[in-house]
Amino acid sequence: MGPFLLVTIQVDLYDRLALNLETDLVNMVHKTGARGVLIDISAVSIVDSFMGRILGNIASMTRVLDAETVVVGMQPAVAITLIELGLSLSGVYTALDVERGMALLQTKIGSDDELIDDDADHTE
């Protein structure tokens, strides 16, 4: 399996931290050759326009490095708020949880990779 990066955001981010996350993730994709990135935001209680833009940026940036990004675990209240705010996260794949996000990544990346059934948190 092309390695997937799993990132779990555990704290509420302010802008500088979100920007650091963007840079770190793009560097990690380059360094590891990961074909997919899972960003778990289940512990994030708010996503504002800046954070939404960062998620979109990460998806676009990793895509040009040949890796797909899936945002997983968004809380319902966050989804409602994002849409009312006017952000639809177009261009960002989303999935309900890590498991479904993994499945989505595997279909996106296609059959050129050898798929191995493995734990979600395992990245090599």
Partner: protein, 137 residues
């Protein structure tokens, strides 16, 4: 008539200050029994307004009040800064408009998230934005 039941104020001087502000607003919202979706909308709105304040004015102050009108209880937040002010408020309230590098969702998006929204601005003197979210709004 709007009655203020409690008030508290937080100074915003740097980006990190948004974190304690969000926590304080959440505390107050939970205390009056506001539901999770409304809490999230209010905190997201506060986050947008703090970003505007930091970007355009550098620093400012946020007043957090628990208010009631009749049988309704809510949280009112007042964001005051002494920044450059907004020359054309109608333009600033349009979706997609921004003089900065943002998506331009800040003000119009914030307005959609709350029940009451008002903005006063004097060029060269500063901007005050007031938002109110009712507990069941």
């Amino acid at each position: 008539m709007l009655i203020t039941l409690s008030k508290d104020s937080i100074a915003i001087t740097r980006e990190q200050d948004v974190v304690p502000l969000r926590n304080r607003v959440k505390e107050v919202a939970v205390k009056i029994g506001m539901g999770l979706v409304n809490q999230t909308k209010l905190i997201t709105a506060a986050s947008e307004l703090v970003r505007n304040m930091l970007r355009y004015a550098g620093t400012g102050n946020v007043l957090i009040e628990v208010v009631s009108r009749g049988r309704d209880t809510g949280v009112r937040l007042t964001f005051s800064d002494k920044g450059p002010g907004i020359a054309d408020i109608n333009l600033a309230m349009q979706d997609g408009y921004s003089t900065g590098k943002s998506l331009g969702l800040g003000l119009p998006g914030t307005k959609r998230l709350v029940n009451e929204f008002s903005i006063q601005s004097v060029v060269g003197q500063g901007t005050t934005v007031t938002i109110l979210k009712w507990k069941n709004g």
